[in-house]
């Protein structure tokens, strides 16, 4: 690790000399242990590889939850000037995978007595798992409206309330979407998946707020100790996967034609001023709108489940949306870089925006305190609500972590952890688990991930975000 230089308590620099071809240095936000993990799984090399991309500005960055991805590391942030590139691998296949947190006015004592039944209700209403169809069929004409209208369109269809939009990143509609840039295959994959969780590390979780760190901010967010919340983690499903696949092939050919030499083919990219780049961004926007629509529909079914279980309208149960955001996306943003205002294409793959109080992109309802940041925990561990900071703007293009990265491969997890033992352990902690495949549960065990609390503490130590509240799970539904 001689080449990696410690800059401060939670910041490390990967010098340009680390790998020949780097246009800018790398910055890793981590503590000693996390940086050791990053080094071990070759994630640092990926941080270096991203620095090869034309037009990258300032630094190739890595958040504390960084781990080995494909091309870009997971937990990577990279910004490109207008003369630079856009790279679908810097967004990910699950375009706009993200998180939303729904509040309630319930406490644990209100849900504990019949929690299994509530979980049963959620399991019946919220489709999850491989091959599962959603309840909302979207033929092509309707899907086009979802691609351009995002959450607004889905609310218009009856899935949610108008005031939900004020509590979603970007007002629930991602700009610049053009369904003409989306392939027929993506349409075919999207038509039955709206309002489905998916599988892998996606979930719906019933939680209890265990601790509040910043009471003033928590008050504005409407979060308090003992409150029951519901967290939804899901993305753009087959639509995003297909759009990413389609455009990676397109960009691969662009790279081949242009003669750009890339250290990893998965870094395929196109100049921001090219037709291929515009097409990708317009298609990516459709996937973003599909993802936020998906989470909006999922929230509708969650509210519906609570309504049925408690025989009370969701408004009466206080089921307001706290926030919805995504952690796999590329956005055009304005940032101050070494004294200059620059318009940049910021890629966040497994990283979350973390904007401060007063920032124009923070919804008006929260602009006085800053943007809520939602960090999903691993199964059975804590999740967090954070708030964005001014320091993030100067340090990380307004970014922070997205959750905990993996440390153990799925096969190793399956070999060393038993699904049924894990389930028993969780249940003994008072956590009810509804998982599609017990045999695969081991892969999602908390031991297979970095400690999310550590990751969140490092982000705080580095000034990228501040802890507002911490939640513990009481029920987890996974595909």
């Amino acid at each position: 690790m001689a080449e990696l230089k410690r800059v401060s308590a939670y910041k490390w620099e990967l010098p340009i000399e680390f790998k020949r071809g780097m246009r800018v240095p790398g910055t890793i936000f981590a503590d000693d242990k996390l940086v050791e993990q990053a080094f071990g799984d070759r994630a640092l090399e990926q941080v270096a590889n991203v620095a090869f991309l034309p037009g990258i500005v300032y630094r190739s960055m890595a958040m504390p939850d960084i781990h080995w991805g494909y091309g870009f590391p997971i937990g990577g942030v990279a910004a490109f000037e207008p003369g630079g590139v856009v790279s679908p691998g810097g967004v990910g296949f699950d375009i706009s995978c993200g998180v939303r947190l729904v509040k309630t006015n319930l406490e644990e004592k209100d849900v504990r007595p019949r929690l299994r039944e509530l979980v049963g209700e959620l399991a019946a209403n919220v489709p999850k798992g491989l091959g599962t169809r959603g309840q909302i069929s979207t033929p092509e004409s309707l899907l086009k409206k979802v691609f351009t209208g995002g959450a607004r369109q889905v609310i218009h269809m009856g899935y949610g309330r108008d005031d939900d939009l004020e509590h979603i990143e970007g007002g629930g509609v991602y700009p610049g979407a053009d369904p003409e840039r989306v392939s027929e295959r993506a349409f075919l994959r999207g038509k039955d998946q709206l309002g489905t969780v998916g599988s892998g590390n996606h979930f719906v979780e019933v939680q209890v707020v265990e601790k509040v760190f910043l009471p003033d901010v928590a008050a504005v967010f409407g979060v308090s100790e003992g409150q029951v919340t519901v967290m939804i983690h899901s993305g753009s499903r087959g639509v995003g996967h297909q759009i990413a696949t389609d455009y990676l092939q397109v960009m691969d050919r662009v790279v081949h034609r242009s003669g750009i030499v890339l250290p990893d083919r998965q870094l395929a990219c196109a100049p921001l001023d090219s037709a291929e780049a515009s097409d990708y961004l317009a298609a990516m926007a459709c996937a973003c709108n599909y993802a936020v629509s998906n989470r909006q529909a999922l929230m509708h079914w969650v509210r519906h489940s609570f309504e049925r279980h408690f025989s009370s309208a969701e408004r009466r149960l206080g089921m307001d949306l706290l926030f919805d955001l995504s952690h796999n996306v590329a956005r055009m943003e304005t940032h101050q870089v070494e004294g200059k205002q620059m318009r940049l294409c910021v890629h966040r793959k497994g990283a979350t925006a973390s904007f401060p109080a007063g920032h124009a992109d923070v919804p008006p309802v929260y602009r006085d305190v800053g943007q809520p940041v939602l960090i999903p925990g691993d199964m059975g561990t804590h999740s967090y609500v954070l708030v964005g900071t001014e320091t993030a703007m100067s340090e990380s293009f307004g970014s922070t972590c997205h959750g905990a990265g993996r440390t153990m491969s799925r096969s190793k997890a399956r070999k060393t952890i038993r699904g049924d033992e894990l389930m028993n352990r969780l249940e003994s902690q008072g956590i009810i688990v509804d998982a599609g495949k017990i045999s695969q549960l081991a892969e999602e065990a908390p031991e297979a991930y970095k400690d999310v609390s550590r990751v969140v503490d490092v982000c705080e130590g580095a000034g990228l975000s501040r802890k507002v509240a911490m939640m513990r799970p009481i029920a987890v539904l996974k595909g």
């Binding site: 296949f93 699950d94 491989l130 998916g198 096969s411």
Partner: protein
């Protein structure tokens, strides 16, 4: 002799596939991917699909081939168990067979998002007893 094995990876999962002929490598890779997703032996070849894929090189062909299968799996709700591939230059034609996904019957495992370009290789292999081909693919899960 064709076959495949899984490759360990922190966040994702991969396959190494091999075969005496190029056709076999693409078939083995597809079968390997199926094994990652479900108990392949329990899938019956009740419906079929014809596939045609073109690419600029053998790696892009593998990327396009496996992702095309994932498209069929996702859009049609099928799991596939039989693959008959004919590779011509950097294109392929195939007939694939399978049946609708049945969680109770098929022992579902990992939901694969996509085949990636990362570390993707399709190359001649002269190291074994016979000449053949090997391929390596990392999946996003």
């Amino acid at each position: 002799m064709a076959g495949f094995r899984t490759i360990e990876h922190t966040a994702d999962i991969g396959i190494e596939a091999w075969g005496a002929a190029l056709d076999e490598v693409y078939e083995a890779a597809a079968l390997g991917m199926t094994y990652l997703m479900a108990d392949a032996e329990r899938i019956e070849p009740r419906v079929s699909r014809d596939i045609s894929v073109s690419a600029g090189d053998l790696e892009e062909l593998m990327f396009a081939w496996l992702n095309e299968l994932l498209f069929i799996i996702d859009a049609d709700g099928l799991l596939l168990c039989e693959f008959e591939v004919t590779v011509e230059d950097t294109s392929l034609e195939a007939v694939v067979r399978g049946e609708p996904i049945d969680p109770g019957k098929h022992g579902l495992k990992i939901d694969i998002k996509a085949a990636t370009y990362h570390d993707l290789t399709v190359e001649r292999d002269d190291t074994g007893e016979q000449e053949g081909w090997t391929a390596r693919i990392i999946f996003d899960v």
